[in-house]
């Protein structure tokens, strides 16, 4: 069974934590981009590395054991802040800001830069899969009750350029523990990658 954590945090506490960690994470995202693209001299790179190591040591002076996990506040607010796609505190996440629509579908507008490259100038096919897996899962999951991927299939219509993109997904139907969902990534010219998947309600989840 997965270990979801309930924290004794008020809405104000959560907002305060958000204000502490969001700027840090955004700075690290900028650093990731700079690390890939820098053409600075070796001494400049070495000096930057020393600053980074000092920052890491300071942050590690007090840290949690293991990964962040998924936490819930007493009010039931979800804090998936370590998540690799949407995590507020995870610099690897683009991050996606998921919009939930009245018809149950979900979407996100996002931008992918140098950190998500596969073919030159284009989104890594696996990054498209990462984003679609997450969004189909969001569409298939009730607000506080996760669904896990059972199967997912992706069709690449054409290469996806790095830059401004959109992803949307919707649940089609539910049969027992299985929810079927579909979605796609698109650029200004239309869809580039399509996905369909089956998401499973774990035995230990009570809706």
């Amino acid at each position: 069974m997965l270990d979801f954590t309930v924290e004794d945090l008020s809405a104000e506490d959560v907002e305060r934590l958000r204000e502490i960690y969001r700027p840090l994470t955004e700075s690290v995202r900028e650093l990731i981009d700079a690390t890939i693209r820098t053409d600075a001299a070796a001494e400049t790179v070495a000096a930057a590395k020393a600053q980074i190591d000092a920052a890491t040591a300071a942050l590690r002076s007090k840290q949690i054991d293991g990964p962040f996990g998924v936490r819930f506040t007493e009010q039931g607010d979800r804090m998936p802040w370590g998540n690799a796609v949407i995590g507020l505190r995870n610099p690897v996440a683009p991050p996606l800001s998921v919009q939930h629509h009245p018809d149950g579908s979900v979407s996100a507008d996002f931008t992918l830069g140098a950190a998500y490259e596969g073919p030159p100038g284009h989104v890594h096919g696996g990054v498209a899969a990462l984003i679609l897996d997450h969004m189909l899962g969001e569409a298939a999951s009730p607000a506080t009750s996760p669904r896990l991927t059972g199967t997912i299939s992706l069709r690449y219509l054409r290469p996806t350029r790095l830059g401004a993109l959109r992803v949307q997904a919707a649940a089609e139907r539910t049969e027992g523990v299985k929810t079927f969902a579909t979605g796609f990534i698109s650029d200004a010219e239309g869809p580039t990658v399509q996905a369909e998947g089956v998401f499973i309600r774990p035995r230990w989840v009570q809706d």
Copy 2:
């Protein structure tokens, strides 16, 4: 058409660049983990952020336009250093070190930590897809001639715990421009995610 870059670099130049950038990238990977897991006081976080911003500014004092791309040396060595899965200079990449076996199959042993989390303590399903997409593509591609994902299907046998993992993949057959490949991720107890895909030789590639 994708823009692959040929650089005027000797093997020694490449090794020198590797020695400059690999330690920087590894430091940023450590910082990513610390950013997710820190429980330090707000002032400590703010001070770390200031150091990171200074490092970013120094690295950006001279940088390339746009993403890294895929470069080749004059000797034909591939330098996919910005790649989101294997990139030596991409802190988002775990990175995977791909082993090519005599039978044409590929494998990699790797470790995923807090930055790749989905369900608490477990690998994000989309991260498993990212890694499998890359490895099936490696298995389907000749050394210097890329294949692009046409379709890929993934089956999740059980949740994959964060930690030490292995991925392996092999090409099954080629029909015209299509190469069929399969693979899986496994932990100490066996396979956790299986994949099969069709990879396409782009029209502009001459083998």
